[in-house]
Subunit: 412 residues, 2 copies
């Protein structure tokens, strides 16, 4: 069926979410079934509130630059659609807009929650026999989606993490008596990002200890190990997930002494490195420093993995290829021997709301390090670098003109 | 005079301190006056404790890779030499080693404190008529040395800062209702690094507010401005130096409520962004996030400025050219119109222990932003990118073999 395509982005940004958009736009331009290419501003919010732009009018240089532009260029949203059985209001508005713009193809680029949104819309369309195909494009630095070898965005995040850990190790090891440096990495329930720090061992600058949320954290064992490493080397580098917990499931972050007196009365994740540094100070009396890698993990596109950029682009590209004849699916990546990726489809409902954690055989040394199996899994993902365009000494980003559609006019 | 050269590194590492070492080694190899090229491990400590290596035996590929290797490859030290009039012990040991190795040329790469060390050694040599020339090579990300246009290391640090700010702005601006994001940048007494964040405005992603230690910080004015910006944009990005102080000279960090109950009883710098985020939370009730750029500011050599790398290399190179006929000097950089650099010499004692802060005309909007004058000053520094060698998807660093000299053998 011939018609328009509408593309949206949702959830937390990654370094390569715009590469997927770029792939979808390129494929849509090539398709004879697609006559208009629209973008939803702030995802589902933009559809419901008539914030839609015409992507076909954008300069092709900017579409190319999307491959190295961080953030969600269309704007993102965190909005949980109610079940349409409970409240169909949003769904009715969506169908109204889709009819106005003759949208026959809907692509949503996002993570776990966004695949839930995507799945709900798809199921609603099927329930009313509305003729619009729906396909989700995966993205998340967290790598916690199931039914996929790894998620677009993850590889660039760990290339950033491993590079930064490697540089930090080089920096901190220059003193005879250095510091115990604790680096906090994103990941509440899954330690995929923190595991990525292990790749720095390939430059001989890997962390001395690595702790993930998947394995109970023992503060005494940690202190013993840190003490021993510091005695041997005169410094120590430890990578920890923000979400590490003790054997009783209590967040190590909650060990923080000052947190009890927090006048705002709420516990924020982030800060576990600070808690551990305080233990190193108090119990081991060793000089210490805590480093939180923070936002650059998901937006340092100047250091994106070329493999990741290409895969994210291809996921967007294949989504459009597949959407002509398929609906209610997510594009997925299957790993073939010697590292090749096949782009296939999986059911949206099989993906939404599930979480993939780091498997046991990737964790070793009683939960304080990462195995060779993980390196074998992750190393192919970080290969290659993008040829970044610089302007004024800084990376140049895509600058979409955002030509808004006047939906009331379309209506008349 | 013909003899050996000894090179040491000292103080906090930068992304390009090893580029200076590389320049000195290359120049020493070319000099007919220099027959041996030695390196001191951990600076002055290595000289006093006989930790000296033969740099001429290192692989030339590694010497080249030094240009993109962070950290102090020879090891660093923070050790304040006593005045030789008070206690000559260290100085006597230094001369002993220099005699053993026939060191006629001594080069010390470092910042403010290291120039003090360098100056003291130089003055001691002159006082006993010891025939060894001494030249300092400047480095510090802080850019706080006087008698120099800017310091090697600074440019790469602000290229990293401006790039990261630019990427973070791209990331945080994707939500309709985003967060107030406060980014903490190094700099206790001088705001040079934080000022560098202004360069991100060239990508239209500059911070909304920028605060340096040079101008008194007013918390009420800050909250008013943040509130207004958030109402307009739905997000705000603020860059602050770790060392900002109020009108009474009190560190804003000390405003921290939980700090009073700190059981370790000492106040650490770092954490001011957290304090300000707490104010935004408590007073403005706006969603917020704090980001500390931390160590990558001084070690992210994958993003080094090519201009900086070349200048650092040249400072090391010219130090060796000049040392044949000069002593008691530091290499300095003079800016010629249209941005060219001339490498000259300045007296060590005119540099050591002085601090250069950000001039008033670089600061604007009542201390909450940075002027065009600063952009004009800083923009040439961040031009160009190094062609980084990658291995296994990660930057490849120099791996010195470190052939130690047996000084007892030399002695016999």
């Amino acid at each position: 069926m011939k018609g328009s395509i509408l593309i949206g982005q949702s959830g937390g940004p990654t370094s390569v979410i715009n590469a997927s958009l770029s792939g979808s736009i390129d494929a849509a331009k090539q398709s004879e079934q697609i006559d208009n290419i629209y973008g939803a501003i702030n995802g589902i919010y933009g559809i419901i509130n008539h914030q839609i732009i015409d992507l076909s009018l954008e300069d092709s240089n900017d579409i190319e630059l999307l491959k190295s532009t961080p953030g969600s260029i269309l704007g993102s949203v965190r909005y949980k659609l109610p079940n349409f059985q409970d409240d169909p209001t949003d769904y009715i508005k969506i169908v109204e807009v889709f009819k106005l713009l003759n949208v026959k193809y809907f692509i949503y680029i996002g993570g776990n929650d966004s695949m839930d949104t995507c799945s709900k819309i798809s199921k609603y369309f099927q329930s009313i026999n509305f003729p619009c195909n729906v396909i989700g494009v995966p993205k998340t630095i967290d790598n916690d989606l199931i039914n996929i070898d790894h998620t677009p965005g993850y590889a660039s995040a760990i290339k950033y993490i491993a590079t930064t850990i490697s540089e930090i190790y080089q920096d901190i090891s220059c003193y005879r008596k250095g510091k115990v440096t604790i680096v906090e990495i994103m990941g509440r329930d899954a330690g995929w990002l923190t595991a990525g720090s292990k790749l720095a061992s390939l430059t001989n600058n890997g962390p001395d200890l690595i702790y993930l949320p998947e394995h109970p954290f023992d503060i005494e064992d940690f202190l013993n190990k840190v003490s021993r490493i510091y005695q041997q080397k005169g410094h120590a580098l430890i990578a920890v997930s923000e979400g590490i917990k003790d054997i009783n499931g209590k967040y190590i972050l909650e060990y923080r002494s000052s947190n009890s007196s927090d006048e705002f009365g709420h516990l924020q994740l982030g800060g576990v490195a600070q808690v551990l540094a305080e233990y190193v100070e108090k119990r081991l009396h060793l000089p210490n420093r805590n480093v939180e890698l923070n936002l650059p993990q998901r937006c340092a596109s100047h250091l994106a993995s070329l493999t990741d950029v290409n895969e994210a682009y291809n996921c967007g590209y294949y989504a459009v290829k597949y959407i002509i004849d398929h609906t209610d699916k997510m594009v997925t990546m299957l790993r073939i021997k010697n590292y090749e990726i096949e782009y296939q489809l999986t059911d949206l409902s099989s993906v939404a709301n599930f979480v993939k954690t780091v498997p046991v055989h990737f964790i070793c040394q009683n939960g304080s390090n990462i195995s060779q199996d993980f390196i074998d899994y992750a190393l192919p993902l970080i290969q290659g670098e993008l040829n970044i365009s610089y302007q004024n000494g800084l990376p140049k980003f895509a600058n979409l003109k955002k030509y808004y559609i006047n939906l009331s006019k379309e209506h008349n």
